[in-house]
């Protein structure tokens, strides 16, 4: 997993729960990196899972909510780091539709070893978009957080329905998005 996700995660924990929790979380995990991440590196995704689980234990909040919250902050980080991604599109559906065909293609050029989830989409009308998330890592919650932050970024009101197609494993999840037209 790309280092930017790890640095963003550590930053999110620090901003949300404070330095102490960060240190306790890192200390409570068995990390090869000892929590020293750089955005240009690539790290085992197991480390982030360990850290989220430890953070849950430390903060007493459930893991899916934590991951969703992280996704929400991660969107802001990505937009700041890679503004061209959002400059090319007009709204959140436009952005979602470009993930697989455009964003991930570019990501692979930069990081040939990146192991990316697949996002297949299908417009079911001008105001309805269907997105299927598939990844071994089961980070559908992260995706959901990213989507919500995205809707906010474009200042759009969109209903989001989530349906797990992998018996709760979060590896194959359908997101149905419907634009609320006022």
């Amino acid at each position: 997993m790309k280092g930017i996700v790890f640095t963003a995660f550590v930053q999110y924990v620090e901003d949300t729960f404070g330095d102490l929790i960060v240190e306790q979380m890192i200390a409570g995990c068995d990390l090869a990196t000892d929590g020293a991440y750089t955005s240009v590196g690539t790290y085992d995704h197991g480390e982030i899972i360990q850290m989220v689980v430890e953070l849950g234990r430390l903060s007493g909040r459930n893991v899916p909510d934590l991951v969703k919250g992280f996704g929400y902050t991660l969107f802001g980080t990505l937009v700041t780091g890679y503004p061209e991604v959002v400059n090319h599109v007009e709204d959140s559906f436009g952005l979602v539709a470009t993930i697989d065909n455009h964003i991930h293609v570019e990501v692979r050029k930069l990081y040939p070893d990146a192991d990316l989830p697949t996002f297949s989409h299908e417009f079911r009308g001008p105001d309805e978009l269907h997105l299927l998330y598939e990844s071994e890592r089961g980070l559908a919650d992260l995706a959901e957080g990213l989507l919500i932050a995205c809707f906010e970024y474009f200042k759009e009101e969109i209903e989001l329905q989530r349906e797990d197609l992998s018996d709760g494993a979060g590896t194959r999840v359908a997101f149905n998005m419907r634009r609320v037209v006022n």
Partner: protein, 774 residues
């Protein structure tokens, strides 16, 4: 965990992250560097490949250019050897190989290749020995480099001739300085005709690209040479054909010459015998001999004419002639033929047709006689009319157009195109039925061509024919105006206009009694042209009707022209009575067919016919006759009606030397000259003639041109050189009817020229003119 501990850990973590980032950066840089290196290497390889490809392309381009040039060159050059040599040079210069040479098969079926002696040499000293050996060495199929190329019909490459066991020119003893060699064949029609070989003093690997080029070069050159050879063969064939045709023409000319000489004797002597005392039967037989002889002679003349035209030996005379006079004299000469068959012969000339043109009188007559004669021959009833007008041709040039219309049997469409070719008649049966050689129209069409004109035919079988021909103004129209006064004679329109410029028929009323409608129209046109007023009738009742209606009064009629057939018709008595009822002031003229002898003296006197006119009418003469009757003074000369006894009017008792090698012609000359009352001495050739002139005194010499020992030209030249104050008249006799003979004769010093066959009247005339002018 206290604050400092937390901060320490965080710091530690950040340092570790920075180091990790730096390591990654370093790693990435390394990677980038390596990739850059690879790219550079790749770039270098690419550049090298591009350079190599470019070179190859350039070479291929150069090869295509050389191939293209070779093909162009091969098409330009005249000989096979030249093509090969230039091909050799082109390849030598292109490849940079220092020595090139060509082996050839001496002929298409030669079984060895021999040196052609054609070389491309960059370094004469280096390959001196090899060249010597090559000159001496022939190759059979399969032997050596040339023999192998011949056998395979494809290029061969020898990397090192010293290592090659089929290279006889390298015997191991002589230093050749030759290492590498290649060559290719030039094939014509699939057979190797030549082998081009090249040598170098270094060994080279087989160059496929070059060999491919050479292969196609050999093919191209071969193909071009093939075509060239085919063209050459065609040219030879054409030249042969032209030569053969010319030979044929010459043969025909000679043959007709040979025939004319004896014909001369036959006709002349027959005429002489007829002139003497013969029984009626003999006269009949001899007349047939004369007529047959004359028709044979005219056939021979046709053949001679045609062969002269084919041999381009005909040039047209260009003098100012009276076209109307030519036309009417032709019409008159054809009149008997037409009138015997009771065919009306008519001639209309539009007023804008010039009377005087520049042209060849004899040839125009010949064309008209042929066409009008044909029209009469193939017409059984009705009329033949010659119409002359001016028109403008396709290239907007003024031209004279002649149209001969008949009411005869016509010519089928498919025959109309071939009818102008020699020996073609409309139908093979035509010859049997109508006679003729089929040469006439062919000669006519060629003569028309010489006059820058065209000839065409329009006909429907059973419905008559129209043959039209034209003479371009470029031919007939130059420099005519100035010469008219000198040429115009009495009876010409020019002369009539000079005599009475104010159109003296103005106010004259002319009554025409004529049954033929075309003749009515033509006649009326002429009279109107001179200002006269014409009333036409073909029956008495028509005139009576007009008289009754007070449209015409007999007193007003100045001239009556009456066609003789009307007087012989069932209405004849009516007509005669009608004519008699005119007052004395009315002049009556009778128009006779050439065959009619309307000479009932009683009628003549009663009708008070003041003049007989013969058809076809020359209207200028008609007008002239009217002028005469009106008292406008002019001299009328009846041309061509010379009395036979004018022979006696010439000089007599001359001493004449006849230089002539043919015994028959000698006899003829003696007989004719005796008849004219002269004394004759014979010489057999020029030398004898000169001796005779030396020994005796003569008043006149008749000199044949073609004689053994000394010909007529040389004899007369020698004679003229010897003469001091005197000049003996010499008349040339020749069977050559070629143009230019006359000039040659006069130039040699002859005084006059007689073309055989010699006729009595012509001979008398020429003798008179020569002796009078003395």
């Amino acid at each position: 965990m206290d604050l400092s501990e937390i901060q320490k850990r965080k710091l530690r973590r950040e340092i570790a992250a920075r180091l990790e980032a730096e390591r990654l950066l370093e790693e990435r840089s390394r990677e980038l560097y390596d990739k850059g290196q690879t790219l550079e290497k790749l770039n270098g390889t690419l550049e090298a490949r591009v350079a190599a490809n470019t070179m190859q392309l350039q070479r291929a381009n150069a090869m295509l250019t050389i191939l293209h040039d070779t093909v162009l060159m091969a098409a330009e050059v005249d000989t096979f050897d030249e093509a090969l040599e230039r091909c050799l040079r082109a390849i030598g210069e292109f490849s940079g190989w220092p020595l090139g040479h060509i082996y050839q098969r001496a002929s298409g079926d030669a079984d060895v290749l021999t040196s052609s002696g054609l070389w491309f040499v960059q370094n004469p000293t280096l390959f001196k020995n090899f060249q010597e050996i090559t000159k001496e060495t022939n190759f059979a199929k399969g032997v050596g480099l040339p023999g192998r190329i011949w056998e395979r019909g494809a290029p061969v490459w020898i990397k090192d001739v010293t290592q090659d066991d089929n290279f006889p020119r390298a015997d191991g003893r002589t230093r050749l300085n030759v290492r590498c060699g290649f060559g290719f064949p030039v094939q014509i029609k699939g057979r190797v005709a030549a082998v081009l070989e090249f040598f170098n003093d270094e060994a080279f690997e087989r160059d496929e690209q070059l060999l491919t080029l050479l292969k196609s070069m050999g093919e191209q050159v071969g193909r071009v040479l093939e075509r060239q050879e085919a063209h050459r063969q065609q040219r030879i064939a054409r030249e042969d054909a032209e030569r053969a045709n010319q030979a044929k023409s010459r043969f025909l000319a000679n043959m007709s010459h040979e025939i004319r000489t004896p014909m001369n004797a036959i006709l002349g002597l027959t005429e002489l015998v007829l002139d003497g005392e013969v029984t009626n039967t003999q006269r009949e037989y001899l007349s047939t001999v004369l007529a047959s002889g004359e028709s044979l002679l005219s056939l021979v003349n046709d053949i001679l004419d045609l062969s002269k035209i084919e041999a381009n030996a005909v040039t047209l005379e260009r003098t100012v002639v009276n076209l109307h006079e030519i036309v009417f004299s032709v019409m008159r000469s054809m009149a008997t033929q037409a009138h015997v068959k009771e065919i009306e012969l008519l001639c209309s000339i539009q007023s804008e047709v010039p009377e005087f043109i520049c042209g060849d009188k004899t040839r125009i007559q010949q064309i008209l006689i042929n066409l009008v004669g044909n029209a009469i021959k193939f017409t059984q009833q009705g009329e033949v009319e010659l119409k002359i007008a001016t028109s403008v041709n396709a290239s907007k040039q003024q031209e004279l157009s002649f149209l001969i219309c008949d009411t005869g049997i016509g010519i089928a469409k498919e025959k109309q195109e071939t009818i102008f070719q020699e020996f073609e008649q409309a139908d093979a049966s035509t010859t049997r039925q109508f006679g003729g050689t089929g040469l006439g129209l062919s000669i006519v069409s060629r003569l028309v061509g010489l006059m820058n004109g065209t000839i065409q035919i329009e006909s429907v079988v059973g419905n008559g024919s129209k043959i039209g021909f034209s003479i371009a103004e470029s031919h007939y129209g130059t420099g005519v105006q100035d010469q008219i006064p000198a040429t115009a004679g009495p009876g010409s329109i020019y002369e009539l206009d000079q005599q009475a410029p104010e159109k003296s028929l103005a106010g004259s009323r002319v009554l025409l009694l004529e049954g033929n409608e075309r003749h009515q129209a033509i006649f009326a046109d002429w009279i109107t042209r001179f200002g006269g007023d014409v009333v036409i009738a073909s029956a008495v009742s028509e005139v009576s009707g007009k008289l009754q209606k007070n449209m015409l009064s007999k007193e007003d009629v100045d001239f009556v022209f009456v066609a003789s057939p009307l007087l012989d018709s069932s209405d004849g008595r009516l007509f005669k009575g009608f004519l008699r009822s005119f007052p004395d002031s009315t002049q009556i003229m009778l128009m006779l067919d050439s065959t009619t002898h309307w000479q009932d003296p009683a009628d003549h006197d009663q009708l008070a016919i003041c003049k007989h006119l013969r058809k076809p009418l020359n209207y200028a003469e008609v007008v002239n006759a009217i002028y005469q009757l009106q008292g406008i003074e002019k001299i009328s000369r009846d041309a061509g009606e010379k009395a036979p006894d004018t022979l006696a009017a010439g000089p007599r008792d001359l001493r004449v030397l006849v230089a002539e090698d043919s015994v028959v012609n000698q006899k003829l000359a003696v007989a004719m000259l005796h008849k004219l009352g002269h004394e004759v001495v014979i010489a057999n050739h020029g030398k004898e003639a000169l001796a005779a002139i030396e020994a005796h005194e003569f008043d006149l010499v008749l000199m044949d041109i073609q004689m053994p020992e000394m010909d007529g030209f040389e004899a007369v030249r020698t004679l003229r050189e010897a003469e001091v104050d005197t000049r003996l008249p010499v008349i040339a006799l020749t069977a050559n009817a070629m143009r230019g003979d006359r000039d040659a004769c006069l130039e040699a010093g002859m005084d006059a020229y007689l073309s055989k066959p010699i006729r009595l009247q012509r001979l008398a005339d020429v003798i008179e003119s020569v002796c009078h002018s003395r």
